[in-house]
């Protein structure tokens, strides 16, 4: 099953990473959006999304690195349906 990892704190991305599988995706929300300002090589060619509204809130909207795809809330909801399940890594 394809899993969408929801990451809301910066340090949690690294903690969750060993468990990312091929075809999985991650979406950065809340304080974790700061991670999208840097190029990030994920294993398995994982899809990488970052939430637009949380970027705008923090003034980071124009600082997103090229390997992150910006999604808004409607697209975030759609993503949770495209993947078989969502896991919030707390």
């Amino acid at each position: 099953m394809k899993t969408l990892y929801i990451i809301n704190q910066p340090q949690k991305s690294e903690e969750a990473q060993p468990y990312f599988a091929e075809h999985d995706g991650i979406v950065l929300i809340e304080d974790a959006v700061v991670l999208a300002t840097r190029e990030t090589k994920q294993p398995h060619g994982l899809k990488q999304y970052v939430l637009e509204e949380d970027l705008i809130a923090r003034g980071l909207h124009k600082k997103v690195a090229s390997d992150w795809e910006v999604v808004n809330y409607p697209q975030f909801v759609e993503l949770t349906l495209q993947y078989d399940k969502s896991v919030s890594w707390l």
Partner: protein
């Protein structure tokens, strides 16, 4: 169209998770999806108090959830164990525990963890905001 439930464990005061959960809920409803239940657990239950007095220029999260619940007929359920130990009680629980007062907002119900399990089994997606 899909049926969602949300599990909200986020502290309403020192984290952003409740804001995210409300925004997610509103968005999925706008898209025509169903929201079966919002289950509050861990520190998430704190939002179910009716005694919040935030500064006038700030959002009252309890009222924001209540508005959504009334307008869209959404179930807001707080876990009884998590709630009672966090000082969130309805009148019956207050009496049973010999407490002088209660503070549950009327838009929220208090019930058991079985309501979470049921939501998992009966929804297409469960999304957690912690």
């Amino acid at each position: 169209m899909a049926t969602f439930s949300l599990l909200v464990t986020a502290n309403p005061y020192s984290s952003q998770g409740q804001f995210s959960a409300i925004q997610f809920a509103k968005t999925l409803l706008e898209q025509g999806h169903q929201l079966m239940r919002v289950f509050f657990y861990a520190d998430g239950v704190l939002v179910a108090s009716r005694l919040h007095a935030p500064p006038a220029d700030e959002i009252n999260l309890t009222k924001a959830w209540a508005k959504l619940a009334i307008e869209k007929d959404i179930e807001l359920v707080a876990c009884v164990t998590a709630a009672n130990k966090r000082g969130i009680v309805n009148a019956a629980e207050a009496e049973r525990n010999a407490l002088t007062g209660d503070n549950l907002d009327p838009a929220f119900a208090i019930s058991g963890l079985g309501q979470l399990t049921e939501a998992m089994l009966e929804s297409d997606r469960l999304i957690t905001f912690g």
